[in-house]
Symmetry: C2
Subunit: 323 residues, 2 copies
């Protein structure tokens, strides 16, 4: 098998690449080539029978995308995106990468004769906007409140149409907010959801800018990798024409997160969370969805994390392993 990951240098893209290299397989297939594309080169190396090819470039450059697709990968994971905050701050960049880049990819596939790869597209719960139902079902109207959510939803619509026309076999998966993100704190408004777990576990104080009763929809990095692998191998025909699914997650409050941290790591660790309300972040988070009923994804075999305690334990294991 020949596999292409667009956005391979991001956190989820890298976890996915590592999972593929760990097994050398995707479903029933043995992987011969894994091409890793992003704006910066990946440092992952060939392993076992899997030849890793690293490419760096601009997904909004037609020749770049055409060259990637000319290898005719069997499966294309499309995770490349400008994230929410940056797409809001830089209108042109967001549309160029998130919309034009996606469309260029789809068009490059269409230009290849007798070629119909599996395309796994990462969308986001940002396609939904307030006022929300609780829970948000698969029948809830997507109405994005950001340019990022708009761009992701347009990608979903294109994916559905290109799939319907037989150009590729596509599936879009709307990822929950990923917690616990490894690495340094970032400036994303959602960063504290990871920070209040990651920093105390590392013996560092973490700031909690919202009330304890704030609730959100989260999944672990490992669950996200599992979604991607399942999406790449499952039979898509039962999905019919609507190929984009909200992924399962945990609807959990900050209080429940902290209780889980206390249970797993003790009172001293949980005591490293300092409450410092931030009206701006509270305002942003108030516009985020809190709970979903992802029935279609569950019926299609996608599975959420078992518990937030498990998410914390997995993060501890990954950190110990240097991941």
């Amino acid at each position: 098998m020949d596999i292409l990951i667009l956005g391979a240098a991001g956190m989820v893209g890298r976890k996915l690449a590592e999972a593929l290299l760990d097994t050398g397989r995707l479903g029933e297939g043995e992987i011969a080539r894994l091409t890793l594309f992003d704006v910066v080169p990946s440092d992952l190396q060939s392993r076992g029978a899997v030849a890793v090819e690293t490419r760096a470039g601009d997904i909004a450059d037609p020749a770049t995308v055409q060259a990637l697709v000319a290898q005719r990968p069997d499966v294309i994971f499309h995770l490349a995106a400008i994230v929410s905050g940056e797409a809001e701050a830089d209108f042109d960049k967001g549309y160029r990468i998130n919309l034009d880049g996606t469309r260029l990819l789809f068009e490059a596939i269409r230009a290849q004769p007798d070629y119909r790869p599996r395309v796994v597209y990462t969308s986001s719960i940002a396609v939904f906007g307030a006022p929300f139902a609780e829970p948000i079902t698969d029948d809830f109207v997507p109405a994005p409140m950001t340019s990022y959510g708009t761009q992701k939803l347009i990608g979903e619509l294109l994916l559905n149409d290109y799939t319907r026309r037989g150009i590729f076999d596509g599936i879009g998966i709307r990822l929950p907010t990923i917690v616990v993100r490894p690495g340094k704190p970032n400036k994303a408004a959602s960063g504290f959801f990871s920070g209040i777990i990651r920093e105390p576990l590392a013996g560092v104080e973490a700031v909690l800018p919202v009330e304890d009763d704030v609730r959100h929809w989260v999944a672990s990095p490992a669950a996200a990798t599992g979604f991607l692998l399942h999406a790449a191998t499952m039979d898509l025909a039962p999905l019919g024409a609507r190929r984009c699914l909200t992924m399962p997650g945990l609807s959990i409050s900050v209080a429940e997160m902290i209780a889980a941290l206390r249970e797993v790591a003790g009172d001293d660790v949980a005591a490293l969370i300092r409450r410092e309300p931030d009206a701006t972040i509270r305002g942003i988070v108030a516009g985020w969805p809190r709970d979903f009923a992802p029935d279609r994804a569950l019926a299609a075999g996608f599975t959420a994390d078992a518990s937030f305690q498990d998410i914390i334990r997995a993060h501890i294991r990954d950190t110990a392993a240097g991941g």
Copy 2:
């Protein structure tokens, strides 16, 4: 006021232009210039105080669109589109005109400093796909089953986002199927809805390719013009961030249409309808929506035709007037 109509040579665009020329006004404003743009030049002439400028060109050509917007019209009616059947038959053309053309228009507006026009965008009930609720409410998920519907829905999402960002003050109106279309029969699968009224009234036999119990969502050309004029002048702030509305129409069966024709024009006219079932057309029409509950549009002051009898009588008047 300075007004621009894109798609001015189409049936609805022409009716709109005529309505503006008839009164010389749009809401409270006196119209000084009316620019009519389409792939073919309009033959409408300046009237009273309204200077008509006619332009012919390609809406997917950036320089063409930039030149139109450089006049900084106060209101832009965007009706230019490749219709459903053609967008399905010609993938590139549909995306080029319906998606790229719309985006070029929105980008040309964004490029003008200190400019925030009213943009009225015609969308379509083709943004909805089976299986349908009955009636289809404003909370029903759009899931287009054609490239045309996909392109129209992407335009809606762009309009919402550009409006939210303050680039223009936009509204999208999803038009019902327009009945009675004047002129010659066309090859659209929906053509018979007009044909079974128009041809018998002209003393010509009409073919009915579907069963009498087929039901669809229709509005008259005059109602469509009314929607556009109201959309151009109403206060849009109460709509909030969701600027695209399903327009009111009549949910009517073929049997009810024929009964109305008999009531208005007599048995001899209605007898000119010949039943000749066509499995292909029946299949296509089976995938179309039958009934809507357009509550948001009704609350916003849009009004449907009073009855199908009124639609027939208006068509008779228009035909007698040479319209």
